[in-house]
């Protein structure tokens, strides 16, 4: 069933399908990060990141989510923000482990309009020895809607770097650093940055 679903998705995306050559990847990570706003307020939270990808030849499709995260200013006892990210992207591998990405990011929360932006980027994964590899994702959106209450849209940049270590065949542990920067038209910056750690599976 899983394979059929993957084929359907791939066929819908790229018009290709060959059951046995479809690969799957699942990533579960914790993101221990700090939310900093231009107003010099910052809070520390831990969030789960879940991502899943399917790949056929050089084409891939990825869906990822940052599960609902609440940023609470403990010193002043108020909720600064609540967010849930839902992202998806199509990828095309141009050279060995270099994949170009084009996707859509949606950040939703209670009582606010969804912030939505088309992003583009590149992801990399390079072996450095038999069990170890480095990986990274760089993405940017030139226009994320509803980011700024006054001027509307803003920009979004993502930097995600890390090291993975294969512990058994298709299972790897990873550690890294991840930063999201949202910049409004008024040049106010909202930065989410911190360490990641997790596990990845390939099937």
């Amino acid at each position: 069933m899983k394979k059929i679903l993957a084929c359907v998705l791939l066929f819908a995306s790229f018009g290709v399908c060959a059951g046995d050559e479809v690969k799957y990847s699942l990533g579960l990570r914790g993101w221990s990060h700090t939310y900093s706003a231009s107003s010099n307020t910052s809070v520390q939270v831990n969030s789960p990141l879940i991502s899943g990808s399917i790949k056929y030849k050089d084409f891939s499709f990825t869906a990822s989510t940052l599960m609902q995260t609440t940023y609470v200013n403990t010193s002043q006892s108020y909720v600064m923000a609540v967010r849930t990210d839902t992202d998806y992207a199509v990828g095309y591998t141009i050279y060995d482990n270099v994949t170009l990405l084009l996707g859509n990011k949606t950040i939703s929360g209670p009582q606010v309009n969804d912030m939505v932006g088309i992003f583009y980027g590149v992801s990399l994964a390079q072996p450095i020895h038999d069990q170890g590899f480095i990986f990274g994702t760089f993405a940017r959106s030139n226009s994320v809607s509803n980011l700024d209450a006054l001027t509307g849209s803003g920009t979004f940049n993502l930097y995600d770097l890390g090291y993975g270590h294969i512990i058994y065949k298709n299972t790897s542990l990873n550690i890294g650093y991840r930063q999201q920067v949202f910049t409004t038209a008024a040049n106010d910056k909202y930065t989410f940055s911190g360490a990641t750690f997790g596990v990845g599976f390939n099937f």
Partner: protein, 380 residues
């Protein structure tokens, strides 16, 4: 169960595995049905003879025959023999043929066209060359007319121009060729450059060609290997050059694919593990017989030697020798025991390495970091 029976079962299992994977190892020895070669070596020129071309042509012809080629062979070709040779070569070609041409000797170019002078050539002017030489274009025309499946041309002919340059149109080395489709041409050196006639039995290019012909890999890979080795040996002065291509795959012998290589290694490791677990003299001997150039040959020989020549120190009566001699023998025995322990330890280390390598090979088929196809799911 008796260890010998156990090993017998292992061998049966091994034989079964070999039978199963043999089709994937490229062990099929059948060659293309129609392989035709034209091999020419010109050395005994009346002016400026060369040392090696006839050695080159003889060695190449012998090897091609071994690989199933029907060889039209000529050496020290004279002008009156050219027509007959071309006719014979043409008569053997069919649309299904794989045609191979090898030429060793002097070569020169006039206005981009390549000629190989016959040994009795007396070239006084540019006009003499086309009528006293084999024309490469003529060979190409024959191949084109025959509509052969694939053509491979080796030209070890870029040696120094032996004839006085009485015309500015005559240039050193050979020119690039307009070849029929499905043709791969390999030159001893870059167009316009000069190749080494070699210091040994063969010219440098042919010497390397003869070596790579035994490798069961596609011709394109062999040519790359030759470039690397010849460039290295001449410190970059001579660089073989090739152009053209054809559909499909050509190997002189049976083509082996990379998967087959991996399977071979895995089979050998499995065999070696069983030999180790048995520890019997005949099993080490069987390993050495089956894998005379195997990964574990050195260790197997040492182990076999240790098994065949056990320590004799305890067999010597203590009272027949002096105390110093007894001490010396004891030390020797201890040293031998240490050596055996060390051998065993090295053996285990090598086995561990082999296991890691086997695991790496297995993983490379799925998703290890050593593959260049890592697949990591990003999040945004």
């Amino acid at each position: 169960m008796h260890p010998a029976l156990n090993f017998f079962k292992v061998q049966l299992l091994f034989a079964a595995v070999v039978l199963l994977v043999a089709p994937f190892l490229g062990l099929n020895t059948a060659h293309a049905n129609n392989r035709v070669a034209l091999v020419i070596g010109n050395a005994q020129y009346e002016k400026n003879p060369l040392a090696n071309p006839t050695n080159d042509s003889r060695d190449v012809a012998a090897k091609l025959q071994k690989f199933g080629f029907d060889v039209v062979y000529r050496e020290n070709l004279k002008i009156r023999q050219v027509g007959g040779m071309m006719k014979e070569f043409k008569s053997k070609l069919t649309p299904n043929s794989t045609a191979l041409v090898f030429y060793a000797g002097h070569g020169l170019q006039i206005r981009g066209e390549n000629f190989f002078p016959v040994v009795d050539a007396d070239i006084q002017s540019e006009e003499d060359i086309p009528v006293q030489s084999i024309s490469l274009k003529q060979i190409m025309d024959i191949l084109e007319d025959a509509k052969t499946k694939a053509n491979i041309v080796f030209l070890d002919a870029c040696r120094d121009n032996p004839f006085d340059n009485r015309s500015r149109s005559i240039s050193r080395g050979l020119a690039k060729v307009t070849a029929p489709s499905g043709t791969l041409i390999s030159y001893a050196t870059r167009p316009g450059s000069v190749a080494d006639d070699g210091k040994g039995r063969n010219g440098l290019y042919t010497e390397h060609l003869l070596k790579v012909m035994d490798i069961n890999k596609p011709i394109e890979q062999l040519l790359k290997n030759m470039v690397t080795s010849i460039k290295g040996e001449t410190k970059g002065r001579q660089e073989p050059w090739s152009e053209g291509s054809f559909e499909g795959e050509f190997c002189f012998g049976p083509c082996e694919d990379p998967e087959a290589e991996k399977n071979k290694i895995l089979l050998e490791v499995a065999y070696w593990e069983k030999t180790l677990s048995s520890g019997k003299i005949e099993d080490y001997q069987a390993y050495l017989a089956n894998y005379p150039n195997g990964t574990f040959v050195a260790v197997a020989k040492r182990s076999l030697d240790a098994l065949l020549n056990p320590s004799t120190a305890t067999a010597i009566p203590a009272n027949s020798v002096s105390k110093q001699e007894v001490d010396k023998l004891i030390k020797q025995a201890e040293e031998k025991l240490r050596q055996e322990a060390s051998n065993r330890s090295n053996l285990e280390k090598e086995l561990e390495k082999a296991k890691i390598e086997a695991e790496r090979l297995k993983n490379s088929q799925t998703n290890s970091a050593s593959t260049k196809k890592l697949f990591v799911s990003p999040s945004f």
